[in-house]
């Protein structure tokens, strides 16, 4: 079976192409660093496997995800490499292409975004480029699928070995490369010695690790020192890395001169004009906030709430009635009837009613991602984060964290500085994920009917502002670091395709529905049982149940922050497993037949002020179980995992106490 590696610079559309060729759907974002692990898919038309590697600018790894790409090229068996190249950024993209060609595996170039290049007045002679590079070059548009069939045909045909592409590095280096070739043992399945020599001289750690298994370290070091010395003596260059880079640059310039004509762009494009406004130093942030406000307005007031109310009427009306009559007909006992109606329907149904709101939110987020605006948001945030001494790259895991914190934490791998990465991992859980949205929905519907969007927006902003403040605090105290750089490419604006939007919305939201049918179901059954049974036996009054005992044990601690009742305590404890469970628990313990009644009952336990304090606490207190596990895996440290749990609890308590006690002082209730 053929295995093809998909390699290219970040943000060139590798994952779009991967989805197109394999028929699968992976998360696509038009900013750098969305793919952090290699992903394997089966090629749709000709069989064989396609491996999507994280985007890299060079084979010499700087960050963890870049290491994954190089390591995979060296250690996995590939029949061919599919190099995807951004046609509108050819000069920079060819740098990696040359390194891949030197590697010597059969290579096919997918010249992506040829439409964008054309719009910018860039004409590329693909045939001539193909002749010069000695490999097929196929113009494609991965988003629409244009040229992709041609590409798959070429891929299936290009599995014969081809001669490595040779760049002339000048006499000095060429001699050193020859000398190196005599040191490399034969028949060990190693990559071409010429490629190894150049990568080693460039300081590629992954290649060095491989070579020390075959060649004595002293011999390697001696050869490197001698070569470096000779290059310094015989050329004007201070370092060999610089020397190699310049040689490649010359080669790229000659390729571009022969096969690319730049007719220049036709004045300022629409994208440029929009960018002047939305990335403006002063207007950028307010515009972003306005968009976010509109998104919540649509999610909660204009579209989401009517839909959710309709769904709630169906679940608590026809569905419950039908189930109840079936259970009667089957002669089910009271216990089973209560379990199903007050446990499962209340617990699972209580979460399901918010599905319309969550899907609307995901649809809108997909819209701003696919339109190209999200990349601008990252850029606007970069400026702000730079001012507090952080890298803008850290904002990308945080954006991803708005969907779910777990992939957000994984995305932190794109950050080169270990301390900056750790900081991002620890702070990403402060981003309000979609699970928490169900709790907000429940509460804003009950207590803040008039200002639903504003209250939710304030919670999202609270998360971001706290993350930035703590980033500043931690980076100047326990995690002092050197600064690093952030490159973000701005894709041109485009009208998103409905198919892509629907697919992306479904992919983001399906986990939520799956969770409702599995874990929320199981959780609801257990919570109901705990509320049904107590030390006094079964079917005890709710206040004497096990759940009341458990929740009541932490209630006194919660009193100063406004919700010292066992119900809130129980909801918070179960919420550690998954934040949606807070909603299930409340539906079960407040035994309300429908959403409006539940929201009415809640008014007996919460005031608007304590409700807001509760929402802030839900946002900030310990990350959910899956997130804690992801933190542990990614930091590899029990200490930092505990730190992320404990600081979150402390911050949550402090913020809630400030909100509640401060609010009381100011006369709110």
């Amino acid at each position: 079976m053929i295995t093809i590696a998909l390699a290219g610079n970040p943000n060139t559309g590798k994952t779009s192409l991967f989805n197109r060729l394999t028929g699968s759907y992976e998360y696509v974002g038009n900013w750098t660093g969305v793919t952090v692990e290699k992903k394997v898919g089966v090629l749709k038309k000709h069989g064989g496997q396609l491996v999507d590697l994280p985007g890299v600018y060079s084979l010499n790894p700087l960050s963890k995800d870049e290491g994954v790409a190089t390591y995979s090229l060296l250690h996995d068996q590939f029949s061919a490499i599919l190099n995807i190249v951004d046609a509108s950024q050819l000069e920079r993209n060819l740098y990696l292409t040359l390194q891949l060609l030197e590697y010597g595996k059969p290579l096919v170039i997918g010249l992506n975004m040829i439409d964008v290049a054309k719009a910018r007045g860039i004409r590329i002679d693909a045939e001539l480029l193909s002749k010069r590079l000695g490999c097929p070059v196929i113009p494609i548009v991965a988003r629409s699928g244009a040229g992709c069939d041609d590409l798959t045909r070429k891929l299936a045909a290009t599995v014969d070995e081809q001669n490595p592409f040779v760049i002339d590095y000048g006499q000095t280096l060429e001699e050193a490369i020859c000398q190196f070739a005599s040191m490399v043992p034969e028949n060990q399945g190693l990559p071409p010695s010429r490629w190894l020599a150049i990568q080693l001289l460039e300081g590629n750690g992954v290649v060095r690790d491989l070579l020390v298994k075959h060649i004595p370290v002293s011999a390697l070091n001696e050869w490197m020192e001698n070569t470096e010395k000779r290059v310094q003596e015989e050329t004007d260059f201070k370092s060999i890395v610089h020397y190699i880079r310049i040689a490649r640059g010359r080669c790229i310039q000659s390729l571009l001169a022969s096969s690319v004509t730049n007719e220049g762009s036709h004045g300022t494009t629409l994208t440029d004009r929009i960018d002047q406004i939305v990335t403006n130093k002063f207007l950028g942030l307010p515009i972003f906030l306005l968009f976010t406000y509109l998104i919540f307005k649509l999610t909660f007031d204009w579209l989401g709430t009517p839909l959710s109310d309709g769904l709630d009427e169906f679940i608590t009306g026809p569905l419950s009635d039908t189930l109840s009559s079936w259970l009667h007909a089957a002669g089910a006992t009271e216990f089973i009837e209560a379990l199903i109606l007050q446990g499962i329907v209340a617990g699972v149904g209580g979460v399901i009613v918010f599905v319309p709101q969550i899907f609307i939110l995901f649809f809108l987020i997909s819209f701003i991602e696919d339109s190209g605006y999200m990349a601008r948001v990252a850029m606007v945030m970069d400026k702000i984060m730079e001012s507090i001494g952080l890298n803008g790259k850290a904002f990308i895991p945080m954006i991803i964290g708005f969907g779910c914190n777990v992939p957000g934490i994984m995305a932190a791998r794109t950050i080169e500085q270990p301390k900056e990465r750790l900081l991002t991992i620890i702070l990403t859980p402060l981003m309000s994920c979609s699970a928490r949205l169900t709790v907000y929905s429940l509460f804003v519907g009950a207590f803040f009917k008039q200002n639903q969007a504003l209250i939710v927006l304030s919670l999202y902003l609270m998360g971001i502002i706290l993350a930035l403040t703590l980033a500043k605090l931690f980076s100047s105290t326990i995690l002092k670091q050197e600064s690093s750089f952030f490159v973000i490419e701005l894709p041109p604006y485009r009208i998103p395709q409905l198919r892509i939007l629907l697919q992306s919305t479904w992919e983001k939201g399906k986990g939520f529905i799956r969770k409702a049918g599995t874990f929320i179901f199981g959780g609801s059954v257990v919570i109901w049982l705990l509320s049904y049974a107590g030390p006094g036996g079964m079917d005890v009054p709710m206040d004497e149940s096990f759940l009341a005992l458990i929740g009541g044990s932490i209630a006194p601690i919660l009193a100063p922050i406004g919700f010292g009742n066992w119900q809130a305590g129980a909801a918070l404890l179960t919420g550690f497993l998954a934040k949606e469970v807070v909603v299930s628990t409340m539906n079960i313990i407040y035994v309300a037949p429908d959403l409006p009644t539940l929201q009415g009952v809640m008014a007996d336990f919460f005031t608007p002020l304590s409700a807001y304090s509760f929402l802030a606490f839900i946002l900030l207190y310990v990350p959910c179980l899956a997130t804690v596990a992801a933190i542990k895996k990614e930091t590899g440290s029990v200490k930092w995992t505990w730190f992320s749990v404990v600081y979150a609890l402390l911050i949550a308590y402090i913020i809630s106490i400030v909100i509640y006690q401060g609010g009381l002082l100011l006369g709110f209730h």
Partner: protein, 51 residues
């Protein structure tokens, strides 16, 4: 009564299964959270130094 017993066993059995699997998957962390967890066969098996 038989219907109640069957329903009870099914519901509690399924609930226990989902909870067990959720906790197990959550502990797996990154692989369970990865969008490619179904099609991917590598289980991200890289040595520590490149991870």
């Amino acid at each position: 009564m038989i219907a109640s017993v069957i329903l009870g066993v099914l519901i509690f059995g399924y609930a226990a299964f989902t909870l067990y699997r959720y906790v197990k998957r959550s502990k797996m962390g990154k692989c369970a959270g990865c969008s490619a967890s179904k099609s991917c066969s590598t289980t991200c098996s890289y040595p520590e130094e490149v991870r």
